[in-house]
């Protein structure tokens, strides 16, 4: 399976995002890393079977020249989901911060354990 330039960039971004999830203990950075991963996946979808000579699927045109419209339609939904998920995560983080006063996963976990 060969990968196009866009797909390679997307996979690199995906790995960058995952590195953020693995190595950063800050909750805000976790949410930002999730944002990076979402962008990477959107780029990957759009880069599937894409060539630079393709035109947007609008109006009457030669079907063989048109970029695949399905991933584009799907990615609009994925963007909406990404935004709402980020919003929910941030909202939850605000109330978490009010309770525990920390942005660090380790400290929050320790405080949660001391409570029970």
């Amino acid at each position: 399976m060969t990968l196009s330039f866009g797909e390679i960039i997307a996979l690199i971004l995906f790995c960058v995002g995952f590195y953020g999830l693995l190595a950063r203990r800050n909750i805000i950075r976790t949410i930002i890393s999730l944002g990076i991963i979402q962008v990477a996946i959107i780029l990957f979808f759009l880069a599937i079977n894409f060539e630079s000579t393709m035109i947007p699927p609008i109006g009457v045109s030669d079907p063989s020249m048109v970029a695949d419209p399905l991933p584009q339609a799907l990615m609009i939904t994925a963007i909406v989901i990404g935004v709402s998920v980020t919003a929910v995560a941030l909202t939850m983080f605000i109330s978490l911060y009010h309770r525990y006063g920390s942005t660090n996963w380790m400290k929050v976990k320790k405080k949660r354990r001391d409570e029970s």
Binding site: F14, L21, I48, K109
Partner: protein, 533 residues
């Protein structure tokens, strides 16, 4: 024929309608609506049973272009089970003060989304529905807004979103390879793939996220957090543990069915299922919080189901699917009664609860029925499904011993769980409310009926004829009695001397460690597949 999407959309739209129209009686209208959903589920079940698999494409496009909903004999049973359990849950919680419009709104929406997950035949639709239900579930977990449940809800949300990003990348790869997202079309085109190595990467990505959803071995640490969180309403715990986690298992069944033609992974899942079951019961034994005991026992049962599904035999396959149904019923009974016990005693610590039988006799009897079901006692529903799972292993000794060990673990958990029923109590408690009594009586009754009429139930639900031989069943009953005695001896004499359990209780992964376990699972699955193919 009513269109299939109604069963997905009707609860959601009605929930929204009841939430927005400033109705004075949200509970009664929601309950009526729930009865309609139950009737619809029964209708779809009967229709599917008579006419075979129903496929309905939204917008009347060809399949593969529009979003397809598919109701086959497993999906229709799960939808029916879903409607039935939600009806019981709303009945059970009818009098609770926190059952306000917002709670009912979220709770009923979850039902619609789960119906969607069971019926959707399109990978992107599955992704959207799971992502939405993750948000709804995390809000439900932290509904009472106490600080522990906020942490648990947050952890649940982020872990599941991370796993779903892997799923989305996986379906991007699938689209790149197959040019379609429809599961049926992918299934048809699967035989055209010349080089199965091309499928390894998408398969590992998808199966990692499904593994997390269904709480497989290294990925289960979110489950007890979410299902056993101290302040979550007991009906939410019951639905999550009884049914929601089965969404993951159902996806496991569907995706395994598609990929099995090219990638044979039954061996690795046999091992993973076994390890999940064993580690699940070790964790459950070490807990002292009764909700956490039940949550970890779910992990153990899921391991058993995955094990049964990977045995590659008809009887064990249908036995596992019947066990999914059974587990949903007895685990919801256990969570509901645990919630009532916690309310009465105002503690979750099993060491401080004694004399439940004296204080709450009715609740105790129903709990015993569920315990007999989950441990596979003869005449109860668990015994039939466990018998079927085991029926193929008689020729393969090691597997049979494995299953006996798993069941022994389950028995030990519930010997421990049952210890709180002993003892004396002089406090008089108020009698159980009628609606709660009715709800747990119906569910508990199904534990017994599912055992006595097990063969007929399987015929009715899945159109499969099975036969349960008397000697095999008696032999299993003897094994059960022996394991019960061993379990009892172990708990009374050995349990307190083993220090290991205390150490296990302290184990708790942080978010970064959970992410690490996801990467580990993915890397392990990826390299294993590269090695064998």
């Amino acid at each position: 024929m009513m269109p299939l999407f109604l069963i997905v959309l009707f609860p959601i739209i009605m929930a929204l309608f009841i939430y927005l129209s400033f109705n004075r009686l949200p509970k009664i209208s929601m309950f009526m609506m729930q009865l309609i959903v139950l009737a619809m589920a029964v209708y779809f079940f009967i229709y599917t049973k008579e006419n075979g698999t129903v496929i309905h494409v939204l917008g009347y496009y060809d399949q593969g272009i529009g979003i397809a909903l598919k109701s086959d004999n497993i999906a229709s049973v799960l939808v029916l089970l879903n409607a039935f359990l939600f009806t019981c849950m709303i009945l059970f919680n009818y009098h609770k003060p926190y059952m306000n419009r917002l709670f009912l709104f979220l709770f009923v929406i979850l039902q619609g989304l789960m119906n969607g997950i069971f019926l959707a035949n399109d990978m992107f639709t599955i992704y959207v529905l799971i992502e939405l239900s993750t948000i709804v579930v995390s809000v439900l977990i932290m509904f009472k807004k106490d600080s522990q449940s906020i942490y648990d809800g947050m952890l649940y949300l982020l872990t599941n979103i991370v796993s779903m990003t892997l799923f989305l990348l996986g379906i991007a790869y699938m689209y790149k390879i197959f040019g379609s997202l429809d599961l049926d079309i992918i299934g048809q085109r699967m035989s055209l793939i010349e080089n199965p190595r091309a499928l390894i990467l998408p398969y590992s990505l998808i199966i990692t996220s499904i593994g997390l959803k269904s709480a497989l071995m290294p990925l289960f640490s979110w489950l007890p957090r979410a299902h056993g969180t101290p302040s979550a309403p007991s009906i939410v715990s019951a639905i999550l543990s009884g049914l929601y986690v089965k969404g993951g298992l159902y996806l496991f069944i569907r995706f395994q069915a598609i990929f099995s033609e090219q990638l044979d992974t039954t061996h690795i899942f046999l091992i993973l299922g076994f390890m999940t079951a064993v580690i699940g019961f070790l964790f459950a034994l070490s807990q002292t919080d009764i909700k956490l005991i039940l949550a970890y026992s779910t992990v153990s049962q899921i391991g058993l189901i995955i094990f049964g599904l990977s045995l590659n035999h008809d009887y064990s396959y249908w036995g596992s699917i019947y066990h999914i149904v059974n587990h949903a019923i007895f685990k919801s009974v256990l969570f509901l009664t645990a919630g009532m016990i916690i309310e009465t005693y105002e503690t979750r610590d099993i060491r401080q609860i004694t004399g439940v039988f004296k204080r709450m006799p009715f609740v105790s009897i129903i709990t015993f029925m569920a315990i007999l079901g989950i441990t596979g006692a003869p005449l109860f529903n668990g015994s039939i499904s466990k018998y079927l799972i085991q029926s193929d292993t008689s020729s393969r000794d090691l597997l049979e011993y494995g299953l006996i060990l798993i069941n022994l673990g389950t028995i030990m958990i519930f010997v421990k769980y049952g210890s709180m029923f002993r003892g004396d109590s002089h406090v008089k408690t108020a009698p159980v409310r009628l609606n709660q009594k009715l709800a747990i009586l119906i569910l508990g009754g199904f534990c017994l009926a599912g055992g006595i009429f097990g063969v007929q139930f399987i015929k009715l639900l899945f159109n499969i004829n099975i036969s349960v031989s008397l000697d095999g069943y008696v032999r299993k009953a003897i094994v059960y009695m022996i394991s019960l005695i061993i379990g009892w001896f172990f708990y009374t004499y050995l349990y307190s001397k083993i220090g290991l359990f205390k150490k296990i209780r302290e184990i708790e992964l942080t978010f970064n460690q959970i992410c690490f376990s996801i990467v580990l699972f993915f890397a392990g699955m990826f390299s294993y597949l590269l090695y064998i193919i």
